[in-house]
């Protein structure tokens, strides 16, 4: 599996994402500076967490205009995989690869805590290692994770099984407790919680590792 992690000037979970990839594949992913414009022969693009441009204007807005994002779009359009974590999810909604927006948390504060998610669809390349409807624990850390989408699009998401992760207790006001969604073609996933922080390295929880392992198997 050939993986690229995109690095924006304010990305700060890029290294954590790379470590997670390394842990499951044994190979360091390619770290791609956002001004580079090449994503040749890459299977999976990871848009990592952080504050790509300080979250100034709107989270993900300025990053969405970066040269690399044209390549990411082409990569996705070609049916290859894209994983957006936290800020990466925000970028994906800003460029329209995923529907909806991520508004400020309903509590209007940054929230960092471990959290239970329900796996709503384990029939995707990202989630096939999980049991359907299982409860997993993935930490979260963000200020703008309050997912909002138009009603018709919401029913579409729900009907198509594009909602893959749901919060068991809603931390941010997100509509229908949505924590992560895929696009219709199921090759792009955006999620607010951080699977790369649940790799069994700092505590016993390795529920995040399953996601990366699923991807690896799907791409083998």
């Amino acid at each position: 599996m050939r993986v690229a992690v995109i690095v924006f000037p304010g990305s700060n979970c890029d290294r954590d994402a790379a470590d997670a990839i390394m842990q499951v594949t044994g190979k360091m992913p390619k770290m791609v500076w956002h001004r580079e414009a090449e994503l040749n022969s890459i299977d999976l693009v990871v848009l990592p967490g952080g504050f790509a441009y300080g979250d100034y204007l709107r989270p993900g807005a300025i990053a969405a205009q970066s040269p690399i994002m044209k390549q990411v779009r082409a990569h996705a359009d070609a049916g290859r995989y894209v994983l957006g974590i936290c800020n990466g999810f925000q970028v994906l909604t800003e460029i329209g690869l995923l529907p909806g927006v991520l508004m400020p948390n309903s509590g209007t504060k940054f929230v960092c805590k471990p959290l239970k998610l329900k796996v709503e669809n384990s029939d995707t390349a990202f989630t096939n290692g999980y049991k359907n409807n299982s409860s997993i624990s993935i930490p979260l850390a963000h200020h703008d994770g309050n997912y909002l989408v138009q009603d018709d699009e919401l029913s579409q998401l729900e009907d198509n099984g594009q909602v893959v992760f749901r919060y068991e207790v809603n931390p941010n006001g997100s509509v229908n407790d949505i924590a992560g969604i895929t696009n219709q073609q199921v090759n792009v996933l955006g999620m607010m919680p951080h699977p790369e922080r649940a790799m069994g390295k700092t505590d016993a929880n390795n529920d995040g590792e399953t996601l990366f392992k699923s991807l690896m198997e799907a791409l083998q």
Partner: protein, 80 residues
């Protein structure tokens, strides 16, 4: 030349920050406050003097970057 851009949430879009402000003002005793909505005002210093062109260019900037048109609407005023 300056452009004054107002970016506001479309009607009907929930505004978490606005609701928080409403609550805080009411708690401070400002009972006359019924609802609050928060938007952005972005002031651009522009080179050039052509107002018509400027308005068109700044509207493009809004579509491309300054506003997220999924949930926001914008208005542009050009002043000297």
């Amino acid at each position: 030349m300056k452009a004054i851009v107002k970016v506001q949430l479309k009607p009907g879009v929930l505004d978490p920050q606005g609701s928080a402000i409403t609550g805080a003002l009411q708690a401070l005793g400002y009972d006359e406050v019924l609802d609050v909505r928060q938007g952005k005002i972005i002031e651009l210093d522009l080179q050039g003097t052509d107002h018509v062109l400027a308005k068109q260019r700044v509207s493009e900037m809004c579509g491309e970057l300054l506003a997220n048109t999924v949930i926001e609407r914008f208005s542009v005023d050009i002043i000297d």
